[in-house]
């Protein structure tokens, strides 16, 4: 099924092949993000 660029998301629930491809990426790619948080309520 072609991706509709006007629709958000990967639709992983109905796309086992995409889910498998994503899981492969997550298993092999780790990104460290340097951050600490201060909470603030949005305006």
């Amino acid at each position: 099924m072609a991706k509709d660029p006007k629709k958000p998301g990967l639709d992983l629930d109905s796309s086992p092949a995409r889910l498998a491809a994503l899981k492969r990426l997550l298993g092999t790619t780790v990104v460290k993000v340097e951050a600490s948080f201060t909470d603030r309520v949005s305006k």
Partner: protein, 184 residues
């Protein structure tokens, strides 16, 4: 701290982050983040516009719809969250930076914030994903610079699936926007 990190921290302190509300609608609909004729960026821009009225279409529950302003001017927007409750990663549904502010690191900063929130929010898995058109060179470059992996979408060769497991290490302060819009 490296020069690049100092620049990132300075940018972070400069930006004012808030969660989208209906009061932002007109400003968001006037927001231009796609260069003329750049179809992948236009698609991202259209999704930002769509979210002003139909944020509920973006995944399960209400996702984060975060706006970034610089001196009161909207310079960036990002929408992210879980598409389905059991997904292994949050998804960046769309991301846009004002055309006048490209190549300043604003998009990278917004994506880092989304990734950091993925780790810090217990409702989210510690991973991030997105789908990016292969011709969206700027977004692919942004992801490459962040170290996010990509594979060709097995169902549509025009797109990449991107993803990474995220680890949070102590670093520059990020202001966490804690409020979410109420569900209708």
């Amino acid at each position: 701290m490296s020069g690049a990190s100092e620049k990132a921290v300075a940018l972070l302190r400069q930006l004012d982050l808030s969660i989208y509300t209906s009061a932002d609608r007109d400003e968001v609909l006037a927001f231009k983040c796609a260069p003329i004729g750049h179809r992948p960026a236009e698609a991202a821009q259209d999704l930002i516009y769509k979210a002003t009225d139909r944020l509920g279409d973006f995944g399960s529950g209400y996702p984060y719809f975060v706006l970034a302003r610089d001196n009161g001017v909207l310079v960036g927007a990002i929408i992210f969250g879980l598409e389905h409750p059991d997904d292994p990663a949050i998804q960046i549904f769309t991301l846009g930076v004002a055309v006048t502010r490209h190549r300043e690191g604003i998009g990278t900063m917004l994506k880092k914030i989304a990734m950091a929130l993925a780790v810090s929010d217990e409702a989210f898995p510690n991973a991030v994903a997105s789908t990016v058109h292969r011709a969206n060179y700027r977004m692919n470059g942004l992801n490459d610079n962040l170290g996010i992996g990509r594979n060709q979408d097995p169902l549509d060769g025009e797109f990449y699936i991107t993803g990474a497991t995220v680890e949070l290490v102590n670093g520059p302060e990020i202001v966490r926007v804690t409020d979410r819009p109420p569900e209708d």
